[in-house]
Every structure is written in C-alpha cells, then in structure tokens.
C-alpha cells in the first residue's frame, strides 16, 4: 500500500467510557452546597465568609505541602480539598477566630486524609476529623454562637474572628443560644419555619434546612450520593424521636424539630454520604444510615452534648469496613436451590 499503516494502539477493551470523572462529582458537591453557603454568608456576615475562606485555605495549603510533587496538580485539580475545606467551614460557628478555622483545615487534610494514604483511603470523614479536633482543642470557641447580623451588619466582622493565634479571645456581645441548646438546657422549642429557612443561630452552613435539602436532592438526582444514606438517617431520627414523643411529649423534641435543627441535614446529605467513608453496598447504606440516626438521637437526648451528628457519623465511619464485609450482595447465581436438589 502507498500509505503506511497508522501506528495502532492495542489498549484492551472496553474502549467506551461513561463521561464522568471525580472532579465532576466534586464540582456537583460545590454546586449543591452553594445555596446554603450563600445563605450562611448572607445571614452571618463577612466574618462567616472569612471563616470559609480560611478553612478552605488551610485544607488546600496542607494538600499542597504534603502531596508529592508529581501528584499535586492532579489531586488539587479534582477539587476534593476544596470540598473538605468548605464542609468544615460550614460546620464552624460564625464567631470562631479565623486562625482556628485555618488550623481545622490543616488537620482535616493532614490527619483526616493524607496520613491514611490520600484520597479514597481515609476511614473517617476528613471535615469531621478537623471539626472534632477543633471541638476538643477549643471547646469554648467552638460552642460560642453569635446571633445573625443580617444584611445591615454585613461588614461588621466580630472581634473574635480576628483574634491572634493562641491569644485571648474577646467574645463580648456575640453570645446566643442555638435551637438545640435551648431545647436541651431550657426545654424551649424554636418555631419550625425559622428552622427551615435558617433564622436561628448555629454553624455557618447548617441553619438553612430547606436549601440543604435542595442541594442534597440535586446530588441524589445526579447519583453523586447514595440516597439510601440520608434517607435512612432522616427516617431513623424521625422514627426514634416519634417514639420518644409518644412516651413523653413534654420532655422530648418532636421529629420535625429534630430533623431540621442542628447539623443533621448537612451531616446526612453531605458528610455521612461521603462515599469514601460510608458502605459500598445498598444494604450496608441502610444499616449505616440507621446507625447514624439512632446515635444522633441518643447523644442529643440522653448524652451530655446538645448535638451529636458529628460523633454519630464518625462512629459509624469506624464501623463501615465491618458493615461492608457483612453486607456483600448475593452474587448472581449463587446461593440458589440448584435444579439437582439441595442448596449450593
């Protein structure tokens, strides 16, 4: 022939590939979180935005420093560090000093992810590892809540936000109680509508219940998360609290309050459903979610803390390998009664 043959590749099949990548999934998470993030910044002011930026900066910088040179660019490009930093920031109180948020980002990526071997190998949700560290190290700062500033006070950054590292923090005039605090310590409920639209104090991104659900549905629709996990968490929480209400309606919070208060929604849709740290199998997802839901109510109602989502998810993260092991689906054609009689 006149023309030489083209140089042929001999890559084995399949040649076709679903147009879907990890970075696309991460981008979906950022899109899903955008409404609740914007609402949080709107309600809590510029200080909240600075906290989010600080925790993202902490996460990204840590990834940059700790990853080997040849991995850096690709790993940062997939956006998982940004997602971790943002999720951490959204679960921090708005009056937190910025340096703590940054440090939380460092711990999230360093101790939560890289030390395990990087993306995909960590046992615990990185953002929650960072948050657990902050709560243990700075219990006062992590449980001091500020009231919403609203649009008028948008540019007023609280003095506590700007506290220098390891120096005295001035929390003057920022103290306010979250709905869960009110419930736990004063047996005082909060109007449901305020909970749904986020007109309460709390962490930056956890208050706007409806927006969090909206983003979660988007992720479920895009199949970026296993819908069974948030579904089973919400069902378990609602069922357990309904049972408690039946026992004593005066003492225990109702199911709707329980679902919409605190960080349950952000935890259920964005943290518990983190695929890396939750079971792979459908049956496992139900067990995992139910476990999280039950633990949340146990901690909130019977434990010493007003909120228990973080610990509930971390505890179930630890159980994930075990759950996966015992919930492997039945392989096609196995475990059937064979036509020759008897069980295989």
């Amino acid at each position: 022939m006149k023309r030489p043959d083209p140089k042929l590749l001999v890559q084995p099949a399949p040649l076709l590939k679903q147009p879907l990548t990890t970075s696309m999934a991460m981008r979906d998470v950022l899109i899903a979180l955008a409404p609740a993030t914007l609402a949080g910044v709107w309600m809590f002011g510029l200080g909240a935005l600075l906290i989010l930026l600080a925790s993202i900066a902490g996460a990204v910088a840590t990834e940059w420093v700790l990853l080997p040179d040849d991995e850096r660019r690709a790993q940062l490009a997939n956006g998982s560090a940004i997602v971790t930093g943002l999720l951490l920031g959204l679960t921090l109180p708005p009056a937190l000093p910025l340096w703590m948020a940054f440090l939380g980002g460092v711990v999230s990526i360093g101790l939560g992810k890289i030390i395990w071997g990087g993306l995909g190998y960590n046992l615990f949700n990185p953002a929650l590892v960072g948050r657990a560290f902050l709560l243990a190290a700075f219990p006062v700062a992590m449980t001091t809540w500020s009231a919403q500033t609203g649009p008028t006070g948008f540019f007023e950054v609280a003095a506590s936000n700007l506290a220098a590292p390891f120096m005295h923090i001035d929390f003057d005039g920022v103290s306010s109680a979250t709905p869960l605090n009110l419930m736990k310590f004063q047996h005082q409920s909060t109007a449901l509508w305020d909970l749904m639209i986020g007109r309460t104090s709390g962490c930056i991104g956890e208050t706007s219940g409806l927006l969090l659900i909206l983003g979660g549905l988007f992720l479920a629709f895009r199949r970026d998360l296993d819908w069974r996990i948030p579904a089973s968490i919400l069902i378990a929480v609602a069922a357990f609290t309904s049972l408690l209400v039946l026992i004593d309606a005066e003492r225990y919070p109702g199911p709707l309050f329980s679902v919409f208060s605190g960080s349950l929604l952000i935890g259920a849709f964005y943290m518990a459903s983190d695929p890396v740290t939750s079971p792979l199998t459908p049956k496992g997802a139900w067990i995992f979610g139910t476990g999280v839901g039950l633990l949340v109510v146990l901690i909130r109602v019977f434990g010493g803390f007003p909120e228990g989502v973080m610990y509930a998810i971390l505890l179930m993260n630890a159980a994930t390998p075990l759950i996966d092991r015992y919930t492997q689906p039945r392989v096609f054609g196995k475990g059937l009664k064979s036509p020759r009689g008897g069980h295989e």
Partner: protein, 448 residues
C-alpha cells in the same frame, strides 16, 4: 402509553447504558466483499482444542472443502473459504498479535468460487445426540462472541429436558449490527433454524429476545412467524450486557442460572440468532461456516458497512473495501468496543468470532487520568453479576489473587461495565483479567 411500556420493559438487574452508535450501519444492507488473493485460517478460531489440518502444502482446495478436522469434543472443523491452493501451513499472527498455527490459502483468480455443497445429515427424524455428532462437521461456533463449538451446548446432561429455546438477538455491544441484519434480511432462514432446533429438542417454545432499539428486526420477525409456530418475539430494554446468556435468561424468563451450571441444566438452550441461521444454512443447504458477517464501523472508518467476509480475509482488505482508515485512527478493535480485541496488525485475518472491525480515534482511545477509588459504588451498581469490582480492583493491584478467588472472581464474565462506569478512570476489568491470567498461569505451572 408507549413510553410507559418502554420503561417497564423486561431486563436484568444492574448493567450500563453506553450510547449504541448503531445508526451508522443499522440500515445498510449486507454486501459481499470481493475475493482477495490470500487467506489465513488459524486452526484455533474456537474455544477448546485446535483442529488438525487434513490438507497438504500445494494441494488444490475447493471453496467449502474440509481443511481441518476436530481433535476433541470441544473442537470443530475448518473449511476453505475459497477455491485455490494451500500455500503454507505454519505460524501466522492472529489479531491479538499471538502466533497461531494457520493454513494459508492462495485463491485461484480464475475460479468462479462456487460453493461445493458439503455432505450433510438429514435432520428430519434426527435425535439430539445425532445433532451433537453432526455439528462438529459444520465448523459452526457460537457467534455471539464466545466461539464455543456449536455441538457443546446440545450435549445434554442425562435426564435434562429442554423446555425453552432462546434465540439471542440482543446484540448489546455498541456499533455492531450484523445480528440485526440477519434478523431483517434472513428472517425465513432464522425461523427455519428455530423450527429445526425446536423440533429436535422437543422444546415447548422459542423466545427471540431483541433489544427494542431494533424495531425493524422485531417487526420483520413478528411478520414472518406462522401462527402454528410456538415462537415469540420479546422486546427488551436497551441495556448492556443484555446479550450475556445468563442475563438474557434472567430478562426473558426471570430465572437465574446457578453459578457453575449452564443454561441447559435448567432446561434452556440459547443460541445467537446468527448461530441459528448458520445451523439452518448447513442442515438445509449444506453450507459449512466459511463466511462471516462483519460490521465495519466506528469514527475511524470512511464508509461503514455490513459485509459478508470469507474467513481468513486480512483486516486490511476489509478496511480497504470500506475506503480505508481515516488519518486520525488510533486503534482498531475486532468485535465490539466493550469486549473486543485490539488488532495488533492489519494483516491479521477475520476469524469466526470477528463480529466487527471497528476503528477509533484519539477521542475514544484517550484514557482519563486514573484517580484513587473513592468507593462511589458505581461499579457495584453496574456489575450484572453482583460482584464488588471496586474491591476486586484493589485486591488485583495488591496482587492478592487468592483473596480475589474468595470474592467470586470466577463469576466475572469480563463485560467491562465496571470500567465503563468508573469516574476515577480505574481500568477495573483489565485488572481483573490480569488477575485471572495470573491464576491460570499459576495452575499451569503447578501441573507441569
């Protein structure tokens, strides 16, 4: 109403939905490519033992003449696709680059290439056992891809009664349209084959399973079925790998073939529609398996086509007939894009299993950067056999092959749905294949 019925069409669980790309060739009638000067016929174009040459170098052979005979039960015959002379018997490179013992035939340029009909048994009043004896002489193998010699499926375990014959017209591999063309162009032959096999087996019913992206095939066959025939056409949802025999049975009869058993063990025999048509050609007209229907398609092909190609024709000649490869072609695949074999050299011959010759450009062959598994579970939801591909890939990377065996490695049919669905770009099925090859090699090493 139609949309609703589409949604609830029968299928199996899990699987993936690659774009089918069949529009490129679905409506193109098959055409015969001209005879070329040289043909290479490997002796092992089927599963099992290679056949043994019964001709000598220099000998004249007629088109349709026996040139290789089966050497074992799982083996089959080989016939000359052309009239000409045996030029050599020796090692030639197959499509995958491996050297295979082959017969090379030079065509007689002045021959009319008329087919000399082979002696064939009279199928009327034949028993299934006699069919099993007869089929190895036809050279027919399972044309859906496995290339299992046709008689093997019909050798039934004692006491097994076949209730259903299934004609597999799923053709779930993207791009391929040759089964489709058989159903559209040769419905009488296919239904004749079904009638013969159904009668011989004493089966109660034959079901033709066709994915509903082939409405012309469904309509044509329905129009040709006589009312007295117990034959049904069942449209299936479009999903890969519907053509896998166990998935097809699950989709059509909602039955699960137990692992380690064959369909026949639960009273079902399934053949590809092309295989059934080939059996009819042989039993009715004495035509051995010498011509293969090949879909030539893909973005790297100038003029896609459905071709009747004599076995042993070099891929180069097939491509030349279709206007050659485009400049940007990067890879040629024999078979389908999901399970086919990359072609190492264009001199490789068309085999009994070559359902397609597909050419792909950089857009399809570019592999995404591989990221670590984030356990998203998409492969788990894709695997039609309910394996855990994510875990198998991790174990394969760690070379923990024995642990993979415990995770039911042997049930994997290598359909590639896992690799197709992985957002991290992990070559899951490729890793699994490597593990299987390794285990096979180890077994051989222990034996010798």
């Amino acid at each position: 109403m139609i949309a609703l019925s589409t949604l609830f069409r029968r299928s199996f669980a899990h699987g993936v939905h690659p774009p089918d790309h069949k529009a490129l060739t679905a409506d193109l009638p098959t055409q015969r490519i001209p005879f070329v000067s040289h043909y290479v016929l490997p002796l092992n174009q089927h599963l099992g033992a290679p056949c043994k040459p019964v001709v000598e170098t220099g000998q004249r052979v007629e088109r349709g003449q026996l040139i290789g005979q089966p050497t074992a039960f799982v083996s089959t015959s080989l016939h000359s696709p052309v009239t000409g002379w045996v030029r050599d018997i020796g090692r030639r490179r197959g499509p995958d680059g491996d050297y295979r013992e082959s017969i090379e035939i030079e065509a007689d340029p002045f021959s009319t290439q008329r087919l000399a009909p082979s002696p064939r048994p009279d199928w009327r009043g034949m028993s299934v056992e006699a069919l099993v004896e007869a089929l190895p002489h036809s050279g027919i193998v399972g044309l859906g891809g496995a290339a299992l010699p046709a008689q093997v499926k019909y050798s039934l375990r004692k006491g097994v009664r076949i209730r259903h014959l299934i004609a597999n017209g799923a053709e779930c591999e993207p791009y391929l349209t040759n089964d489709h063309r058989v159903m559209v162009e040769r419905p009488e032959t296919l239904l004749r084959g079904i009638e013969i096999l159904q009668t011989l087996l004493g089966a109660e019913e034959t079901i033709i399973g066709i994915e509903q992206n082939k409405p012309e095939a469904i309509a044509t066959l329905r129009a040709h079925i006589r009312p007295d025939q117990r034959v049904r056409v069942v449209p299936l949802r479009v999903k890969y790998p519907q053509g896998d025999s166990k998935m097809m049975i699950r989709a059509l009869l909602n039955r699960e073939v137990p692992a380690g058993l064959h369909a026949a063990d639960i009273g079902i025999i399934m053949n590809n529609v092309s295989t059934i048509a080939a059996i009819a050609d042989w039993l009715e007209d004495g035509i051995p398996y010498i011509d293969r229907l090949v879909t030539v398609s893909g973005p790297g092909i100038a003029r896609p086509a459905n071709l009747i190609v004599p076995l042993g024709t070099p891929v180069r000649e097939v491509l030349r007939f279709c206007g050659g490869l485009t400049e940007d072609t990067r890879e040629v695949i024999m078979g389908g894009p999901m399970m086919g074999t990359p072609v190492a050299s264009l001199d490789a011959p068309i085999l009994k299993t070559s359902s397609g010759v597909l050419a792909f450009t950089a857009a399809e062959t570019a592999r995404p950067r591989e990221y670590p598994c984030i356990r998203c579970g998409r492969c788990v939801e894709a695997c039609p056999y309910f394996l855990n591909p994510s875990r198998l890939a991790r174990l394969a990377k760690a070379r923990m092959y024995d642990e993979m065996k415990r995770m039911n490695l042997s049930e994997c049919v290598e359909c590639g749905s896992c690799t197709y669905s992985c957002p991290s770009g992990i070559p899951i099925v490729q890793l699994i294949r490597t593990a299987k090859n390794n285990l096979r090699g180890r077994k051989r090493a222990v034996k010798t």
